[in-house]
Symmetry: C2
Subunit: 217 residues, 2 copies
Amino acid sequence: MTATITAFATSPDRGRGLARDMQVRWALEEVGQPYDVRLVSFQAMKAPAHRAVHPFGQIPTYEDGELSLFESGAIVLHIAERHLGLLPEEPNARARAIMWMFAAVDTLKAPIIEREAAWLIERDKSWFAERQIMLDGNVRKRLGELSVRLGEADWLDGDFSAADIMMVGLLRRLETTSLLDDYPNLLAYVARGKARPAFKRAFAAQYAVFTDSQPVG
Amino acid sequence: MTATITAFATSPDRGRGLARDMQVRWALEEVGQPYDVRLVSFQAMKAPAHRAVHPFGQIPTYEDGELSLFESGAIVLHIAERHLGLLPEEPNARARAIMWMFAAVDTLKAPIIEREAAWLIERDKSWFAERQIMLDGNVRKRLGELSVRLGEADWLDGDFSAADIMMVGLLRRLETTSLLDDYPNLLAYVARGKARPAFKRAFAAQYAVFTDSQPVG
């Protein structure tokens, strides 16, 4: 059975692949699993039919037979557990890969999303500039720690894993800022992720949704 | 071999059990596994020896033989995978339990932690009151959605699971606010979690660290 995921009908980032369906697409491409996509409008996302699958009214979701999931981290982990190639077989290495998935959705993500939300929602507020300095500092602190831990390694812990899908996906949210510039090894890490054929296929698929949604000019 | 976790030597919440070692202790108590605790000072947490285990200089960590982990969600999942009682055996139910663990550290946690951080760090700023209204709204939005989904159920998805440890632990951070008061089913859910003997044993263990650290008066 082919799984069905949901994605934005109208890409809020104009096809930059920052919506969280990107990580799910990438994981499915890495393990060679075809998938169907159901596009949902912002209105439909908040309607009861979608809320029945995703109680918080977001994308992505993942439906495969009787199973329906939300939370991109959980979906990527589910895919990684059911197909070879995204989690190490050795138990301790597997536990560490899952640990890095949690790091990418919790410790690392929190300051990046908070900074981004302020940029989107509070840019016209009197306090914006002063707070942004603090929020940039919070992001830099975590990037510096991640950079030290990554060192010269290609991936977070040994071979490429589901954790790298989540972490590269997160760090890409900073690509339009200068925040990654002080950490050449993180820039190289993101580039390494983006160079993977599976990333490119996933990116192209979500980009096609954006271009298809544009009025013919 | 008995696992060793780390916890704050000096409890920043005066023993209220909001530090993230609480969820790890609770999980270990649920599955009946003894554990050792290494207390770390705020200074030691930032030193190289601790950073070697936790690159972001936080607690808790979990060390068991050759394996060392950080991220409370990952540690609780690791415990749940290795011992019976915290994850359903049926594969789809198991995937949904893990999904709710991700919800507790990602979608639900982000607005709760952001609000809390503003309370701790920005209370003397001119913008605090105006922003707090917005941050309260962000929290209420997610609580409302969670309340609808939980409905009359005892736990997030079927039997008690590792997801409930993470979610109750998160919601407890709101207990000193009035934010939960509009959601009687969430209040009852938190009370249900706190009534579990394993919760009580874990709470007592972390509370003892706080009382032991007090000067004899």
